[in-house]
Amino acid sequence: MSTMTRIAKDSSALAWRNLLNIRRTPGSIFASVLQPIMFVLLLGYVFGGSLGGDTYREFIMGGIFAQTVTFNASFTTIGLANDLQKGVVDRFRSLPMSRVAVMLGRTTSDLTTSVISLLVTSLCGLAIGWRIRGNPLDAVFGYLLILLFAFAMSWVGAFIGLVSRSVEVAQSLGLIWLFPATFISSGFVSVAAMPEPLATIAEWNPITSLANAARDLFGNPTPASLPQPHGWPAQNAILYSALCSLGLIAVFMTLAVARYRRVATR
């Protein structure tokens, strides 16, 4: 069996196992469904009133899509940390199976979680007046771009899960970086209004570019009341976002595999 087929077979066997786990504990993805609804309503109506009403609510949807899939990285973190702690990974490591499959199985099954949360977020967005105003093909491309980023974030989460010494550590480590990462971006406000160096960080933040790319592809403009985005990353949001995702996947896949080889649970 060639290496690639083995990786694919082992990963799909493990993804099957992870999906059974999710199906039997639906509560575990409850947060990933509830959270986007919460943010849509909170940001849309708490901030929305002072920041532009309907146009603002349409504007933040790109940011909420980006935020939602970023937060799903913590599922990969906690899932892997759980397997490590319970000795399940030891069993896998003692098998003549592909090394990368343990993580690839996890990151692909976590994509399912992202698909579900994107669906719920979209429905919630439709309910508050968000619409896809561009052409449908662009919109499909938009969702694919978001899922590519979800996959990249899942690898970041996998690495964090492997570095954590216990599930408890994974739970806090897996969440703590998400807030600055998603808020120092154009997700909910305009980058141009931020002070330096935050503005520059936000401008180049992959989450900013994903939010901007989603707005471009769904045809949701930045409200006139907010400063318009400018700079290379904003003008080439789709390209930059795709490059970021691919780069993050390459870097964190390598890191995670290296870490996995060394990891000794006890």
Binding site: K9, L20, D90, R93, S94, L95, P96, M97
Partner: protein, 351 residues
């Protein structure tokens, strides 16, 4: 190959491993013959699990070499993984999967096709008396059932070497006996079994060869019989009918033994190592009669692995700690518990 020495199933040379400043393994050499049960016996923290983790490719050694069926563990870990089945100390069972799904997953990861994987899983469930619970989530299993399922997982690919890390720790007596049966079957099927245990009785019952390991070193190795005779053959054991006779009996046995007797006052039992057991026994009987000591029980017994273990680890390290209440299973039954307890001290016996 006739005429040629059979290759050892596992060969360990000069194995060392440290975790920070703590030496877990300090130069371990072992050779396990194919088709045998080999027991690694030692207290908690002796280095048993570290050894197992290195053999099963989960840990890399700092120094030394390990060969499994002639394959160097460091050079070709994947080949080693194909010929080894591991059942770890903590049952690695996924609670949210059924018993069947757990084994099916392992079979798939060994590269089996769907049908073959399903057939293997069914067969193993039956063999481990789990077929009734096959389609229940393992989260509902008892500790013994989880352990059996984990053990079954180690056998999915009928490996040449089966490694069982403390397979019976935490099991009730019946499950422990079931596990012992499985080990017997494995050897009948031609597998080599390496098991680690804290239970002397387990090593005694199951193992063809035993290595006693303590502080990261092998301090003795051999068959159960060899180990027992290495620590001075026979013991003379006596139980007095009356507690007041203990002091006299102690004095008598001191004169026939090769070392000071040990006394268990609770059980009114005195024990002393002897040479030429038959004559020592006759001499003891004569002297006890002369002193009119009434004896409830008097006899010779061969050294047990407990004696070996205590002698080797210097006693201070102590016998392996009881992990749970089931440990009482390996202790001799106590029929009578007088109000005093503990070892009789020297002044009382007037030594």
């Amino acid at each position: 190959m006739p005429g040629r020495h059979r290759e050892p199933a596992v060969l360990i040379e000069g194995l060392r491993k440290s975790f920070g400043s703590k030496k877990a393994l300090d130069g371990v050499d072992l050779e396990m013959a194919a088709g045998q049960v080999f027991a690694l016996l030692g207290p908690n923290g002796a280095g048993k699990t570290t050894t197992v983790r290195i053999i099963t490719t989960l840990l890399r050694p700092d120094a030394g070499r390990v060969f499994v069926a002639g394959v160097d563990v460091s050079a070709d870990p994947d080949a080693v993984r194909r010929s080894i089945g591991l059942s770890g100390q903590y049952a690695a069972v996924d609670d949210k999967l059924t018993g069947f799904e757990n084994l099916y997953l392992v079979a798939k990861l060994y590269g089996m096709r769907r049908k073959e994987a399903a057939a293997t899983a069914r067969e193993l469930l039956e063999r481990f008396h789990l077929d009734d619970a096959a389609d229940r989530l393992t989260g509902t299993y008892s500790g013994g059932m989880r352990r059996r399922l984990d053990l079954a997982g180690a056998l999915v690919a009928t490996p040449a070497v089966v490694v069982l890390d403390e397979p019976t720790t935490g099991l009730d007596p019946q499950s422990r006996l079931d596990t012992w049966d499985v080990v017997g079957e494995l050897v009948n099927d031609g597998a080599t079994v390496l098991l680690t245990t804290q239970y002397l009785e387990e090593a005694d019952q199951l193992a063809d060869r035993i290595a006693v390991i303590d502080h990261g070193r092998v301090i003795a190795e051999g068959t159960s019989d060899e180990l027992k005779s290495s620590t001075g053959g026979e013991r003379l054991e006596l139980v007095t009918a009356d507690e007041r006779d203990l002091a006299t009996a102690h004095r008598v046995l001191s004169t026939v033994g090769t070392a000071p007797p040990s006394v268990d006052r609770r059980a009114r039992r005195i024990e002393v190592p002897v040479r030429d057991g038959q004559y020592a026994l006759a001499a003891a009987v004569g002297k006890l009669n002369a002193e009119r000591v009434r004896v409830l029980d008097l006899g010779l017994r061969r050294a047990t692995l407990d004696d070996v273990f205590l002698a080797l680890t210097g006693g201070s390290a102590g016998a392996p700690e009881p992990v749970d209440s089931e440990q009482t299973m390996v202790l001799p039954p106590v029929t009578h518990w007088p109000e005093h307890s503990g070892v009789l001290d020297r002044q009382e016996v007037g030594a």
